[in-house]
């Protein structure tokens, strides 16, 4: 890519282990507990 440089790719995770609910109560900066 000549004009576009990707800094961060697909940070809204929609696959793998989702919805386990083990993450800390709060959203923008929290860490996924299962990972």
């Amino acid at each position: 890519m000549k004009h576009i440089q990707t800094i961060s790719k697909c940070s809204i995770r929609k696959d793998g282990k989702i919805g386990c609910g083990e993450c800390q109560s709060s959203v923008g900066n929290q860490t996924c507990a299962s990972r």
Binding site: M1, K2, H3, I4, Q5, T6, I7, S8, K9, C10, S11, I12, R13, K14, G16, K17, I18, G19, G21, E22, C23, Q24, S25, S26, V27, G28, N29, Q30, T31, C32, A33, R35
Partner: protein, 451 residues
């Protein structure tokens, strides 16, 4: 949905594209910024004049790259509707350890800690029943949380200690984990309390508004005396023993200190590296309230703080600012982003007499009474109502660039200021979007600097 924005953090203009549905962030050149903004949003008159000067071959080349990114799902990606299964599990509780306070801050939503109720103090019996209910209702959840709140929780420390000892023992038997936290005004944070909290609390939040004249104008004792000197000194002593464990110095800014960047930096200069200065939430008719007419000044202050933040994080004055922290690499999954704080659905507040409410902001609102830990009564219909309140149920969130980082905002604020949990508190939304854009700029700048 794609947001094109410009950052001046580095002293020169840098151009970015943020893809809302995928969360992808891209750095682009000025020509690509114009082509993308024309494609996804609209150009201002000045931008349109610049666009008209672009070579047609260059535009075609850029559009080809944009289409390639779209095909990879990194620009203008599709929104996908996710089903969130209702389980009825509760994993976190806010224990109002007492409805009493040694301060009389006029902006306090709890009205001197009383929530307009009697000055009740929680007994161990109520606390024990709350822990039992939490474990019972947590289902398969392993990680549980209990926050000691008030009022001023240090005014009932003997019961706090009993509950913590009981809680640690019971979760061990249940094969679970529990994290205790406390929010305090710092006045009673003496050496004995500091030592115990440091050993037993996962997180300690201490309220200091910043400069002495700012803090002491509002955070006063019953006889009107300012509390900054004692709160700051105790917080600094706590910081010395806290090491790398979690704490926050949390302040409120009002219409009286719209130059709140100065207060954030004051706290950093006072030795703290975990800081949050947050806008007061009051009716616009209140003299202390942030008003729509203040937003221009508030935004300028966030810009000023962003620049200073990036500079300080390069050296000895490194600090975290709660509302600028953004994780674009290891953040939570889509369902957490849709659900947000979980108030009323997986998190509840318990009053000193054991009554249950959706969160601390709803306490004493009888329309939202959910039950009692002593009787075991629990209203799952209210829980389901809160569970169904998410980004999908809020029309205003659908086209918002910050929706996956704000998760629909505070349910209590929506109810109190917009009249409906499924509507938005516009003033708060404006500030949230501004902070989100500042956070993206900071993130991009630090990635560039490798901080």
């Amino acid at each position: 949905m794609v947001k094109a924005f410009i950052s001046n953090l580095s002293g020169s203009e840098r151009y970015f594209l943020y893809d809302v549905e995928s969360g992808s962030l891209h750095s682009v050149d000025s020509a690509t910024f114009l082509v993308a903004k024309k494609r996804y949003e609209s150009l201002s008159d000045n931008e349109n004049q610049l666009y008209e000067k672009l070579n047609s071959d260059l535009i075609a080349e850029i559009e080809s790259e944009i289409v390639e990114m779209e095909n990879e799902g990194l620009l203008n990606s599709e929104a996908i509707i996710y089903e969130i299964p209702y389980t009825g599990e509760i994993k976190a509780m806010c224990l109002h350890i007492c409805h009493d306070c040694n301060l009389r801050c006029p902006y306090c939503f709890a009205h001197a800690g009383t929530y307009n109720t009697a000055k009740d103090y929680m007994t161990f019996e109520v606390g024990k029943s709350a822990i039992d209910m939490l474990i019972k209702m947590s289902g398969v959840r392993k990680n549980l949380e209990v926050d000691f709140f008030g009022g001023e929780p240090l005014m009932n420390m003997a019961v706090v200690k009993q509950i913590v000892e009981y809680g640690f023992g019971e979760v061990e038997k249940a094969g679970k984990h529990i994290g205790f936290t406390m929010t305090t005004n710092g006045v009673l944070l003496n050496e004995k309390n500091r030592k115990w909290l440091n050993e037993n609390m996962d997180n300690v939040v201490i309220s200091v508004d910043g400069r002495q004249e700012v803090h002491d104008a509002l955070r006063v004792s019953a006889n009107g005396k300012g509390s900054q000197a004692i709160a700051l000194k105790n917080a600094q002593e706590f910081r010395k023993i806290r090491g790398d464990k979690r704490y926050y110095i949390r302040g409120t800014f009002t219409a009286k200190n719209l130059d709140f960047c100065t207060d954030a930096l004051y706290l950093n200069d006072a030795g703290f590296d975990q800081i949050s200065i947050e806008p007061v939430v009051l009716e616009e008719s209140d003299a202390l309230a942030i008003k729509t007419s203040d937003l221009e000044q508030v935004f300028a202050e966030y810009d000023k703080l962003s620049k200073e933040y990036v500079e300080r994080r390069k050296g000895d004055k490194w600090f975290n600012y709660f509302h600028f922290m953004l994780d674009l690499k290891h953040g939570p999954c889509i369902t957490k982003r849709l659900r947000g704080c979980g108030a009323g659905s997986e998190y509840v507040a318990v009053t000193p007499v054991g009554d249950i409410y959706p969160c601390h902001q709803f306490v004493s609102d009888k329309d939202y009474y959910m039950g009692n830990v002593l009787t075991g009564e629990f209203n799952s219909e209210i829980q389901k109502k809160f569970f169904s309140n998410n980004i999908y149920s809020k029309e205003d969130c659908k086209d918002c660039i910050a929706k996956y980082y704000c998760s629909g905002g505070c349910k209590a604020n929506s109810l109190h200021f917009a009249g409906d949990m499924n509507k938005s508190y516009k003033l708060s939304c404006e500030m949230m979007r501004k902070r989100f854009l500042c956070s993206l700029e900071i993130y991009a700048e630090e990635e560039n600097n490798n901080v």
